[in-house]
Amino acid sequence: MHGRIRTWGPGALVLLPTVLLLGYFVYGLIAWSFNTSLTDRHTARKGPASYVGFENYGHLFGEDRFLNSLKNLGVLTVAFIVGTLIFGLLWALLLEKGVPGESIFRSIYLFPMAISMIASGVVWGWLLNPSQGADARGLNRLFEILHLHFLENPWWTAGSRWTTMASIALPAVWQLSGYIMALFLAGFRGIPPELREAARVDGASEFKLYRHVLFPQLSPIALSALIILGHMSLKLFDLIYAITGPNQFRTEVPAIYMWNTLLRSDMAKSAAIAIVLLAVVAVLVIPYIAYTVRQENEE
């Protein structure tokens, strides 16, 4: 027993500060937020607050504004994930067999990833100007010049929830498609060439080769991509803040709503929104972490 502790002890000791720090700053503070969300602390004023149980949550889910922000988030997430996966996979497919200048394409497709969402939001705010016709600006002006009038639209400022949130998703798709491309490209290049050879020898068509041989090999990567994009989308804040400003009901998502609630110093309510957001992320991520850790144990 003593010998075991001598071998294991130092390792555990190295991790101890991290465990303590994260124990407090992640788990402790989450508990703190949760605790606040159960109280009636609706002002910045300190002093005793009383517990009201899940009342704040009840109010939230009975509130049009919060339900609106959840629906916005759902639509945004679908548009963002589908868009990014399509572009990313398409680019990877176009590049995976190798073309002249491949590294240039790759670098340019990937570069938006290096830019902050605030900076790209500034540019996309300009591009997504809602004016149309003679007064058109931004992308709409470009469509005017190219005589693609039918493409002109008011972007996020009018129209259905889908138009609005897809307009917000567009810059996010622009930023992250290159990343997904890189993931899939690494996947394609990691497939042993013999697999393709064997499928071709067996007379598989190009389509069947991808459908039955290559794509199944990529499914772990697709799962990672889905989790990454999903949790990014749930937390999306900067881009909306930069493009529409934080005070737009049309584009409000829980992350933004929480900020607005906080500005009014409604501590309990903003904590409740944050906890709902955390719960949504956790539903997505915890099974994934469990799956990953278990799979590594088997190896």
Binding site: P10, G11, A12, V14, L15, P17, T18, V19, L22, F25, V26, L29, I30, S33, T36, W91, L95, E96, V99, E102, F105, R106, I108, Y109, L110, F111, P112, A114, I115, S116, I118, A119, V122, V123, W126, L127, S131, R137, L142, W174, G178, A182, L183, A186, R189, P220, S224, I228, L234, D238, Y241, A242, G245, A271, I273, A274, L278, V285, I286, T292
Partner: protein, 303 residues
């Protein structure tokens, strides 16, 4: 192939992206004809346009005089080229840039060092329950920061950490530990052969000795990856900046938001500002592109 294939080997994943497919014997061997190659090429060029349109916008607008940004002239080159928007943006952003540098560099270094030590233990010096600790750390990577932000602010106020750069360094170090740990854990699991560690242990080397003498010298490319990753995400962060600092002691993302917000936006200056703000991370991307991709791959578990 495990779930985190992409995350598995930081260096080798980046290499996999760059790896050329095997040379095809003749046109038919890779299943494509000359025509399909042309189609592919045209599509690639079209998508290139989509990616580069914002770049064009930023560049032309940032050199325009304020009278030159009318609806009709939005997509044309500047009538007269001017550096005024750049000067204006720089005047506003310069103190923010300095703060962001003095924030991102130490934050990246500290979290990388902690991540390296953690990663070594989790990959090569495991103890019972190490997996539970690993999952415990991993979850910290995914949490929406909103869930901790309010009490975090209270904690920092109680600790009396000066609001501004020191506060942000502390926050980014703590919340950067999970991703750095993951990157180093995967790096050490693939790069360092087990035999080396085992023989060092047989020779009686302790954890500290093994780490300092054997592991650290082999860690260079791991550090490059985490440093780039952390530098970029700290530099680009907006949420912590907004919650934990004020306008006059915040980093450059706050400065840019201020420059581009408000009632009457000076588009030329905000475009110049967007470029100035992005330059450090763009330079990192261009100069260290290889490792940048490695970092992205390593972060495949994060986002």
């Amino acid at each position: 192939m495990s779930t985190d294939t992409a995350a598995a080997a930081t260096g080798s994943a980046a290499a996999a992206v760059r790896r050329k497919p095997p040379k095809s014997r003749g046109v038919i061997a890779d299943g494509s004809t000359r025509r399909s190659r042309t189609v592919r090429y045209v599509l690639l060029l079209l998508f290139l346009l989509f990616v580069l349109i914002p770049v064009y916008v930023v560049l032309i607008t940032s050199f325009k005089t304020s009278g030159d940004t009318t609806a009709a002239s939005q997509w044309s080159l500047p009538k007269t080229w001017t550096l005024d928007p750049w000067r204006k943006a720089w005047d506003v952003l310069q103190p923010y840039m300095v703060r962001s540098l003095s924030l991102a560099i130490p934050a990246a270094i500290i979290s990388s060092l902690i991540g390296s030590a953690n990663g070594f233990v989790l990959a090569r010096w495991r103890f019972p329950g190490a997996n539970i600790v690993f999952a415990f750390i991993l979850f910290g990577m995914f949490i929406p920061y909103q869930a901790v932000m309010l009490p975090l602010r209270t904690t920092f106020t109680t600790l009396d950490v000066t609001r501004g750069v020191p506060t942000l360094i502390l926050a980014h170090c703590i919340y950067g530990i999970p991703i750095c740990t993951l990157i180093f854990r995967n790096y050490y699991a693939t790069i360092v052969p087990n035999e080396i560690i085992e023989s060092a242990r047989v020779d009686g080397a302790g954890l500290v000795q093994t780490y300092l003498r054997i592991i650290l010298p082999l860690s260079m490319s791991g550090f490059v990856v985490t440093l780039i990753w952390q530098f970029t995400s700290v530099w680009n962060d907006f949420l912590f900046a907004l919650f934990l600092t004020q306008q006059d002691n915040g980093p450059v993302t706050l400065g840019l938001a201020a420059l581009s917000g408000g009632q009457k936006v000076d588009y030329a200056a905000s475009m110049a500002g967007a470029l100035i703000t992005s330059l450090p991370t763009l330079i990192v991307y261009i100069v260290l592109g290889r490792w940048f991709i490695g970092g992205l791959m390593a972060g495949a578990l994060k986002g």
